[in-house]
Structures are given as C-alpha cells and as structure tokens.
C-alpha cells in the first residue's frame, strides 16, 4: 500500500474515552510498513464486513512444533505488507510480573523483527508478538532466547500454563501457585514445544476458589487452591466491620450458600458450622480482615474445562478434592502423566480430554488413571441404572 489509504472507520475508533487499538496501530504504522498495511486491511474488512486472512500454513522455528501462528492475507496485492503476518507466542512469567527492563528487551527485538504490535496478553496468557514475516521468525526467536525468553504453546500440545497473582499480592492464596506454574512450565517444556497429543491441553492455576484466572472455565486441568480445616474468624474485626457500617446479614451471611455462617447481630459475632462450609470464599471476600482461610491448605484438581466446540462448553469437573501442593509437586506430576497417557491411548484426533471422558465415561477414566471415586466428584449420582459392571465385581461368584 504505497499511497496512503483513507481509513475513516478506523479513525472513528480513535474517538471516545477508552484507549484505542487504532491509535496503537497507527503508532506502529508510523515506523512499520506491515502495521500500516494492517490498518488498511482493517479498513477494508470494516467496509466488506469480512476478515481478509487465509488459513495459516505451517511456519515455525527450528526444534519447535508450536509457538508461531502462520497467517497470510487474501489481498496480498493490495496489502503487500501483510502478505505474511505471523504471530509469535512468548511464554509470560508466572503471574505476569515484569520489570521495565524485561519489557523493553522485548520491544527492542520486536521493533527490529516484527510489526511493533503486540497483545499484552493473549487469551491463554502468552505475550503475543503480532505480525511478522517467515524469514524473521528464526532470528526473532534467537534474539528472544538470548534475552531469556522462550516460546509458548500452540497446536496439539500443552498450552502455556498461567496463574493468578497469588501469594505475591493476595492474602487468599492457598499455596504458592506462582511457583507451581513456573515449575510445571519448566518440567513440561517438551510437551509445550512439541505437539504430540490428540489435541491441545491447557492448565491454569488459581490460588483460591475465587479463581481469578478462570481456570475452571478455560483449562483442561484446573488447579484451584482450597483448605481442609475451618476458616478462621477474628471476632474483634467482625465488630469493626459492623461498626464501620457493613450490613453483615444482608451482604455477607445471607449469601452463604449453605447457611454455614450466621450473624449474631446482638453480640456482633459470626457463628460458623464448619462442616457445612463449602469454602465459597464469600464471607472471606467481604470481610478479609475478619475471616481468613484455614491452615491445612492445598488444592482441588478438576478436569475437562473448555469452550463450546465440539460437544458443548464444559466447566472442569472435580477429580481430586484435595491434594497438598508442595515442591516438587510429585503427586500432581504423576497424575498428569497418567492422564496424558490415558488420553493419548484413547483420544481421537482433536478430542479434548473432557470430551474423551464424556465419551468413555468418568468411571473408565478414574479406573484408567487410578483415582478413587468420591461423592465430591458429582453434584448428584446417576439417575439412570445403566451401570457398566466390571469383571472384578463378580469375583465373589466364582
């Protein structure tokens, strides 16, 4: 796009209080031809009401099977700068903590090797470097690597794990989720970089049931902090909240899903029926000074979360109500290995683990990976009597 194309619709999106992605593209376009053509292509899409990208081909860097999304426009003549416009997924640090130096190291590389546009961050959690040519991929990777960065996942591999801010800044964290995320990301570098499974597999780790990283909805394996003893109440702080004007009954205890916690307005005290608390966090969230998570901490493990394609969206399902979460996380890793092995053996191409479990049955999954069935795994037992009896069940008859 040699002469400057008019982009009235793009320009319109520079107005208004929310920061504008168009302004960002224009900033990049000032220095980079691809970014300029991206702007033109977007205007064209806004006119046509249709995207102008073709299916990506297979592009990448040496030694890796994933981490790059190939992309080509279907209007290369009109927008030659985006003839090739691949994105690179860079694995973010646990909890998305950065120093300015670290971020600048990325900017410097991307200024040289790509469009200068990024997503901070991608929806899975990676830092997305948005748009470059095939020939730039390897040098870009080499430079990233030399600065201590590595690629995230794409394709049928382990996707880049991600986790909430956790103990770095949150009083609710039930274990060191940042460390766990870093640890498993490093342990499974091969699984992240070399697609070899039926389909993608995502892990997200939340420090507590608030699930600030949406793990239960967005990961095949969800690790969510929890505790096994009673929450801890500081009645002095209860009084302080009450005196500060918090309506404890209306805003706190009335919302307790099991009525495990009740408020004695006269004494200004909370009463807890510990065995009924399902650790929903609500009373803790509302009164963090007065109510704290218990001391016997670990995590619940859930499986199967994913979006709608093919068999419907699934939220993850409890498979381990409680697991201690301490380095080197061996129990978790052993479980992961068994899960992947079972999936690999039985899964069809492009079948997420949740869909496989649905197809084969939870019972078969549990037997396959050696997990004991417990009622915490279900809201309710089956309503149909369609039970698959196993040979072991008839031992007594022989």
């Amino acid at each position: 796009m040699s002469e400057k194309r008019k982009t009235p619709m793009m320009d319109e999106l520079e107005k208004g209080p929310w920061p504008s992605f168009v302004t960002e593209i224009k900033k990049a376009a000032a220095k980079n031809e691809s970014a300029a053509d991206l702007l033109g292509l977007m205007e064209r899409s806004y006119e046509d009401k249709v995207g102008h990208w073709k299916h990506g081909g297979i592009v990448g860097v040496r030694g890796y099977g994933g981490g790059v999304i190939g992309r080509y426009t279907n209007l290369p003549e009109e927008f030659p700068g985006v003839t090739e416009f691949h994105t690179i997924r860079v694995n973010q640090p646990s909890g998305w903590f950065y120093t300015t130096d670290a971020l600048r190291s990325i900017c410097d590389i991307w200024e040289k090797r790509g469009s200068g546009l990024t997503n901070l961050h991608g929806s899975t959690g990676d830092m997305i470097l948005l748009g470059t040519q095939t020939e730039q991929l390897q040098p870009c990777f080499d430079e990233l690597s030399s600065q201590g960065w590595d690629l995230g996942g794409s394709g049928s591999d382990l996707r880049t794990p991600s986790t909430c801010v956790g103990p770095a800044r949150c009083e609710f964290a039930c274990f060191d989720n940042l460390d766990l995320c870093h640890d498993i990301t490093n342990t499974y570098q091969d699984e992240i970089h070399r697609p070899m499974w039926p389909y993608k597999f995502k892990i997200k780790i939340a420090g507590c049931p608030n699930d600030c990283v949406a793990s239960i909805a967005r990961s095949d394996l969800s690790i969510i902090g929890t505790w096994r003893d009673n929450l801890i109440i500081n009645q002095e702080e209860v009084k302080n909240y009450a005196n500060a004007g918090l309506n404890i009954r209306d805003e706190v205890t009335d919302f307790c899903p099991t009525k495990a916690i009740t408020y004695d307005a006269e004494k200004q005290e909370l009463n807890l029926k510990g065995e009924d608390c399902v650790r929903c966090m609500h009373c803790i969230n509302k009164m963090p000074k007065a109510v704290k998570i218990g001391k016997e901490r670990g995590a619940s493990i859930l499986i199967g979360g994913k979006a709608t394609i093919v068999q419907s969206a699934f939220l993850s399902w409890v498979i381990v109500p409680f697991m201690k979460m301490e380095p080197p996380y061996q129990e978790l890793k052993d479980l992961l290995d068994r899960i992947w092995e079972w999936w690999d053996e039985h899964g069809k191409m492009r079948e997420r683990i949740g869909e496989l479990i649905y197809r084969k049955g939870m019972g078969e999954f549990l037997r396959g990976v050696g997990l004991p069935p417990v009622p915490q795994m279900v809201y309710q037992p089956r309503a149909n009597p369609y039970i698959f009896w196993q040979p072991e069940d008839f031992e007594e008859n022989k």
Binding site: G16, W18, E24, W53, E143, A168, D176, L315
Partner: protein, 356 residues
Amino acid sequence: MAKVMGQTDIGPPDFRKFLPPIVKENYGKWQYHEIVKPGVLKHVGESGDELYSVRVGSPRLVSIDWIRAICEIADRYCDGYLRFTSRHNVEFLVSNKDNLEPLLAELKEKGYPVGGTGNSMSNIVHTQGWIHCHTPATDASGIVKAVMDDLYEHFTGMDLPAKLRVALACCLNMCGAVHCSDIAILGVHRTPPRIDHENLAKTCEIPNVIAACPTAAIRPDPKNKSVKVNEERCMYCGNCYTMCPSMEILDPVNDGVAILVGGKVSNARTAPSFSRLAIPFLPNNPPRWPEVVEAVRNIVEVWIKDARKGERVGEWIERIGWENFFKKTGIPFTDKHIDDFIFSVPTFRTTTQFRW
C-alpha cells in the same frame, strides 16, 4: 561465523526476578486488602508493609511505543516494577505511598483509564477478529472499543451491584472464553459452509472434516472426492472451516453477533455457570456496532436497577427467573433460545413452577 541459534526449552524467565522487593518480603504473608478508590488496591502485609496497586485499562492490542510509555511511568513511580492482570489490564505496583497520588495524576493527565476493581466492569477479554484470524464472524477490537467507550463510567466507577465481566469472541471457537461471562459478545455465522470441491481433497483430510462436525451434517461425497453438507443439520458452527480452508463459511451479509448472559467463573456464593443465550443475532455494523452497544447497555442498566447489592448478572436472573429477565429487558424470547443440542433435556422445564 554461523549465527548462534537460540537455545531451546529454556522456559519463561523466573517470575521471582521480576518481583518488587516489597513483594518478596511479604510473599505469602499478606494480611488483608482494601480498595482505596476505583482502580487502587491496598494490600497490607503481616509486617505492616503497604503495597498499592494501580490498575489501568489497556486496549490489549498495543504498540511497543505504548509499552515503552508505561515502562517509563513504572520507572518513575514503581522502581520499574509492574504486572498485567488476567484480564489484560496493567497494574502499577507502588511500594512508596508518596508516589501514589503523583502517579494517579500523571495517569489522569495522559488519559489512561484507572479502574476495574471491586464492583466495576473490568476490561473485556477478547480475541483477534479481523485483525488476525481466518474464521471470525465479526471483529473483536472494534466492538470492544465501542462497548468500553459506552460503559466507561462503569470501569472507572464501582457503583455496580457486583463485578461485571464482559467477554468477546469472534467465532464459536471462543478464544475469548465467553462461555462463562456475565455478558458475552459472540461472533456467529448463520449460513452453511460453501464447499470448494476442487480443492478439498488436496487441502484437507476428509475423515477429519467429517469428524469435525458436531451434528454429523457432513458426509463423504466419493463422486466428487469431496464432502457433502446436509444443510438442515448444519448450525453454522464453522468447525469444518477451522479444519479445512475449502469449507469457506465467512458471510459478509449474514454473519453477526449473539449476546449471552449470566455466566460466572468464581466459586463465590454460587457455582460457576455458563452464559446463556439472550439475543440470537445482531448485525455487523462497523465501525461502532450500535445495536450491540445498545443491547449490552440495556442489559447492564436493567441489572443495575433490579439486582440486589452483591448479585452478579446470573445470580440476579436466577432469582427473578428467566421469564422476568426477558420481560424486564424487553428482549423477545424465540425458539432459538431453546436448546436443541446434546444437553438440551436438562434445560427443559419439568415443573409447573414458573412465573407468568
């Protein structure tokens, strides 16, 4: 000299290198937090240390200039430490209280939106759209910009009944993970794929294409060395197109946007839940998708007016009943709202308990 090849499998940098000193010292020992004002969190450690986090809205699609600009700010007020959130906002980590107000002043001056905490609307999790993907039924960044402009006051304020999580995905792959959002904006196709019989066998594995179809609408077409689509069974999910470029599904006239509501992710109070269909279709109307913006605002406003304090959108709807949701928002209920996929049956009402 051969160019040095990058070392593989080094993994991401250790986050510990990037933690500000106050975080290292109080790691795992935070006592409690307060929301000082919209966008400003105060976390207090057992030590008494105070960390202020200032949350700033980001367009997510940012240039390196933007990154450098926020780095400059972080250098000035945060000793060079900052982080991003799971919803793509920036958080400036201020360990020195004296820097807080000057930081806020600079952010204000430069037009960075501060907010997204507590009972507010945070950033819209979203996807690529026409910026970079090959399957979108709508754009992502444009709608997000338009909706955030319109609901800006709810990002910078905290006057909502509860948190409001909006997400957008530009096609049914749902990279924006819209399936559990208070309000989900979803790009949808509405016409069956158009098969390029000539190229299909060359570009795609036929068995995989067939297996990709959730409703088994795709059959082999041995005569053409291609596939056939039973259009009656096709519900335009686009999964065949994801698998195979010869099943083109983009449609400038009939593609558009659906709105789903009432999902949530947290385990707080109620179990996590899916978003459910509110509006089956709104047209693609760039650059500002006024129908979508208006539809989202309408739902938000009815929720604000009707919900009890503390009720997320879905919790509110479950209390008043979907009958009332449709009545109060004025959204028409149609046959399209009734599930007809695998798990439809559990959504059918098996009781005479309902509201008129």
